[in-house]
Point group: C2
Chain length 336, copies 2
């Protein structure tokens, strides 16, 4: 029943010009007389004409869509990144199509990438925080613009990443500066590059301060794991400073410490990573490291767009420095 949407020829007929002229007006082509342009624009408005992106994508071979591959988009980090990407892309006239994967293995990633390629997306952003994702990407067709975020620093692909090591160094140093003799680290899953970078930064800070390096406390990203690790740490009287790989872990640690009667920051200091909006309302307010997701999104898109627009590549790597946010969960170590 619905009448066919107006097409370019309809606009052209109404304006008394050819469809090509309409196209020129639409694309801001210079050689159109002002008067003609106005006539065409009036016709467009009158008909409520809306250019068909599918047709455009067909003839140009590329749509104005950017495909994103992500996992676990309910976590604060990925969700923020996704939102920032969408925002930034929209400003450049691109739409964003998300493809979530349950696991970051070769099969899942390829499947989603295939889906994006079938839509002839202009470019793809892969949030690839684990090893297995990297492998999947190497086998991909090489003619589609691609940027990885939080991916493998040792792989020769365009990469934008938060400087995890720098953030971790800052966190650890902050604790050392407060007077602690050493700092324990509750880390994220071992196969994530984020984890690896944070561990590396933590070790580096301790090493360069000549501090003893305590054993790593491995966990995942959840508050539940933080709670378990916290229960252990709470029983160790010589632990006075803990740096957790993210804020959720810190939350779990805080609760465990609280239940064991160890006060924060009087007995133990805690620093997190991510600066989730709630971190300021933990008990006590959490000192943490804030990555700039907006900057990551902007850098990714910029890299993608240079790839899309030209053959010559710009920078292949961009690192975004995070900042430390000091709150009340850090204090000097207890006097013995």
């Amino acid at each position: 029943m619905a009448v066919r949407d107006p097409a370019m020829t309809d606009v052209a007929r109404l304006a008394g010009v050819s469809h090509q002229t309409v196209s020129r007006v639409l694309n801001g082509h210079p050689n159109v007389r002002e008067q003609t342009r106005l006539r065409v624009q009036a016709a467009i408005a009158e008909l409520g004409y809306r250019p068909n992106r599918a047709a455009r994508a067909l003839v140009t071979g590329r749509s104005q869509v950017i495909g994103v591959v992500a996992q676990n988009t309910t976590l604060y980090g990925p969700a923020s990144l996704l939102a920032a990407l969408e925002q930034t892309a929209a400003e450049s006239g691109f739409a964003v199509s998300v493809g979530s994967v349950r696991d970051l293995d070769h099969r899942s990633i390829s499947a989603v990438v295939e889906r994006h390629l079938a839509h002839r997306v202009a470019g793809i952003v892969v949030i690839a925080p684990v090893e297995s994702a990297g492998e999947a990407l190497e086998r991909l067709p090489k003619d589609v613009p691609l940027v990885t975020v939080d991916g493998d620093p040792h792989r020769p692909m365009p990469l934008v990443t938060v400087d995890q090591a720098a953030g971790a160094r800052a966190a650890t140093q902050h604790l050392l500066d407060a007077g602690h003799r050493t700092v324990w680290h509750v880390s994220g899953p071992s196969d994530w590059f984020d984890s690896a970078g944070r561990i590396e930064g933590w070790r580096a800070a301790l090493t360069s301060a000549g501090a003893e390096i305590p054993p790593l406390v491995p966990a995942d990203w959840s508050a539940a794991a933080g709670y378990r690790c916290g229960q252990m740490l709470a029983r160790m009287p010589d632990v006075t400073a803990v740096f957790t790989a993210n804020d959720h872990l810190a939350l779990g640690v805080l609760r465990a410490l609280h239940e064991h009667g160890r006060r924060v920051p009087d007995d133990i200091s805690v620093v997190g990573f991510d600066d989730v909006p709630e971190a300021a309302y933990f008990i006590p307010p959490l000192t943490t490291v804030r990555p700039d997701f907006g900057a990551v999104a902007r850098a990714s898109l910029e890299m993608l767009l240079t790839q899309i627009e030209s053959v010559s590549g710009g920078a292949l790597r961009r690192t975004i420095a995070p900042t430390l946010v000091a709150r009340r969960s850090v204090g000097p170590p207890p006097r013995p």
Copy 2:
């Protein structure tokens, strides 16, 4: 330099059939000889052929993409919903294109919807939790399948929504059952339907229990607001039970109570809403109401697909009941 992607005709030539037969194989059309089908599939595999969705979208007039309009996708609720939608859509062979808006006013929403329409999306899901969103939707072209989520219950549009009132009733009743004489409520922003529904449920539960209705404590969705409200509530000795409109508010309230030396649940009981993953690790673990985002996503998509596939509409309204998750933040009122 990149060689043109193989098209249907290339596959056809290699398989020694017409492009139309290739199309038939791709679309699972019945009348194709088994042997031919195999030949075509072999050719597809050999060339690495990938059907061009843009071309398909052009000729059919609809792409296999669903447009989503959302605001503030970094919040836990919207992010979960988005992820669930993506997941569900993928299972039906649809991609999801997100369009975030900063504000849910007429202009912003229309702009994003226009963008989706230009792409000829098959349908649109609008997460429209505030009044101003509803107005924008009424002026939209009526021939595009549309579903609103968490929208205005009084507007005659296809709507899927969490049963906010039921959740709030359950939370309030749970506190009353624990022996509290009445329950205070820290509410979300007044222009959100979610807030309104939760307030309504809270009032209803108190009314039907014959309990006194304390003044509403208005806030927004943030932990910061929860903290401010909590500081006030902590100073009122007769407050023994608080129901907050979401878990972040609860977090803020918990901290304020803690700082004022009021123990939870011994002195005051608290119930939240959303069941964010961290709620189990608040101090103390938070009793809360869990909406089923997966169910919301499934219902939305189902409604959208029936609209897409046929003219006759199915149900115009679906309400998803949330469940109460009991944890340690609720106990009996203190003995006077």
